[in-house]
């Protein structure tokens, strides 16, 4: 499929599926039909040209497939009466923005596990094929196909699952953030034709922001993604190794994305009710505007982490605040704060890594080295392990050399 056709098809996918589900119910069956229609478009359009009304073309093809599927099912279950009820009614051929929103809420159904919510959102709203999603998550296509089938069956049993209240929107944002992080943290060595999950997450979040412009947290997440993604080129070396924030070449940060994210978060925080994604975006904006780590407004970042701690308390937030406090007020203050979460996070690699960093700042080389080594053993990320091992090695060999 050519890139232009692929982009067009994926953009239209949720609006086609949304209409079909509104007409026929039966999300599971409609979703299969739309996938088939998308594949047909991918095969025909590059060859025969894009139809004048591509959305209408997809709706027509997918509708036929839905009716066929209903017939086949009715033949199996001898419920002929059901078919008549399912014949497509002539609904107005206009896409409805609310359809897409309903789809998003449905894909992030509270009955589904997170991996299922992620897979279903990428397929039904993102318009990706099962094979593309499977490749992006490094799992066999059969596994991903089964996960999607199971998720759809679960939705069929559970129904829409109550009203689409604010907590359902929060669930959608959580899923979009998971997709973004999966893409953002992927190594640079991924195959060329792999879908870029972070770009996909930004695209769908932009869609959600368009549908819910007054929701401050949707805007906050959008800004956070833009500001984080702006650093993408600077955060890995060509060999895949990680470059920490302090050592990144800030001239390679994407200034256009930073400007868009910064403007969005400034406007949002001036008008909307405050929420955790907005605060995280504001922190990312402060990093983005700083010319160096030393010239970063750490005091302000520490204040923002304090606000985040009240909005969404958790030991990981405190851990991040400890870094900012150490930069703003010295390592001793940071280490004191860190000690307050030792009971909860003591066995976590991030705790050990931050502790190593703060001990290094404090000049306690021996303890810092041990903390880095502990963190290297605990992390599940290979590039991070290499990074932590080199931080430890930079501090000299010490007595424990060769022991781990």
């Amino acid at each position: 499929m050519s890139r232009a056709v692929g982009d067009l098809v994926r953009e239209l996918a949720p609006r086609v599926l949304g209409l079909l589900v509104r007409r026929h119910g039966r999300f599971d069956m409609c979703e299969d039909a739309v996938q088939e229609a998308l594949l047909a478009a991918g095969a025909q359009w590059p060859r025969d040209g894009v139809p004048d009304n591509p959305w209408g073309w997809l709706v027509a093809v997918a509708s036929h497939k839905v009716v066929d599927a209903f017939r086949a099912e009715a033949a199996r279950t001898r419920r002929e009466a059901a078919v008549a009820a399912m014949e497509p009614v002539e609904a107005p051929l206009v896409p409805d923005a609310d359809d897409t929103l309903s789809l998003l809420l449905l894909c992030c159904h509270p009955e589904l596990t997170e991996p299922s919510q992620v897979a279903l959102t990428l397929r039904a709203v993102g318009g990706l094929t099962t094979a593309q999603i499977a490749r992006a998550f490094l799992v066999p296509e059969a596994t991903m196909g089964q996960r999607i089938t199971r998720a759809k069956a679960k939705i069929r049993q559970a129904g829409f699952g109550g009203a689409g209240g604010p907590e359902r929107v929060r669930a959608v944002l959580h899923v979009l953030y998971l997709i973004f992080n999966e893409g953002h943290t992927a190594s640079s060595g991924t195959a060329l034709h792999n879908v870029e999950l972070s770009a996909e997450a930004i695209r769908v979040t932009r869609l959600a922001h368009h549908l819910l412009p007054a929701d401050g947290e949707v805007a906050g997440l959008m800004a956070l993604m833009l500001l984080t993604d702006a650093r993408r080129r600077a955060r890995t070396r060509p060999d895949g190794s990680l470059v920490p924030l302090a050592e990144q070449d800030r001239s390679s940060w994407d200034r256009e994305q930073i400007a868009e994210g910064t403007l969005l978060i400034e406007r949002t925080m001036a008008t909307a009710a405050l929420g955790p994604f907005q605060v995280q975006a504001a922190i990312a904006a402060l990093h983005a505007e700083a010319p160096s780590t030393a010239a970063t407004d750490w005091a302000q970042i520490a204040v923002l982490y304090g606000i985040l701690e009240r909005l969404a308390p958790g030991p990981v937030v405190t851990l991040n605040r400890a870094v900012a406090v150490a930069e703003a007020s010295g390592p001793a203050a940071g280490l004191r704060l860190l000690a307050s979460v030792a009971a909860e996070l003591g066995g976590h690699h991030r705790f050990a890594a931050v502790r190593g960093h703060l001990l290094e700042m404090a000049g306690d080389t021996e303890s810092a080295r041990e903390a880095y080594r502990t963190a290297a053993r605990l992390t599940l990320s290979l590039p991070e392990r290499l990074h932590l091992e080199s931080r430890a090695a930079r501090l000299g060999l010490g007595d424990g050399a060769g022991a781990g």
Binding site: M144, Q146, H184, A186, T228, G240
Partner: protein, 122 residues
């Protein structure tokens, strides 16, 4: 999150089971495979040959030296594994408990996370 559910085999324990017990374990694996396949969590599974059929390769001064037999002489060795992709560590532990070997006296299933080639923000 991806995990390896590792079955450690102990021939002394296995040989001590009755034939009915051994069959029950094998049948239990079939049911387990069906369950994790249908849930979309199974990435792969293999059972391994007896370590007496292994060979160990060591390259010394650029020359490969092949020694027949296992890497280490131990009572328990890697007998097979399930590679799974699940929601959480809790789910991995829950699945491990469903593997029939886990219920055999003297055996246990090891749950170990798989590392990934991606890096977080530093």
């Amino acid at each position: 999150m991806k995990f390896l559910l590792i079955m450690h085999m102990n021939p002394a324990v296995w040989d001590g089971l009755t034939e009915a017990e051994r069959k029950a374990v094998m049948a239990g694996h079939e049911g387990f495979i069906t369950e994790v396949t249908e849930s979309g969590e199974l990435l792969g599974t293999q059972a391994l040959g007896d370590p007496s059929t292994s060979a160990v390769v060591r390259v010394r001064d650029g020359v490969p030296v092949v020694t027949d037999g296992p890497y280490a002489e131990v009572k328990e060795y890697l007998g097979g594994f399930y590679h799974i992709d699940v929601d959480s560590r809790e789910r991995a532990l829950e699945l491990a408990a469903k593997i029939p070997d886990a219920a055999v006296d003297g055996l246990g299933v090891e749950v170990r996370p798989v590392m990934f080639a991606a890096g977080p923000d530093l």
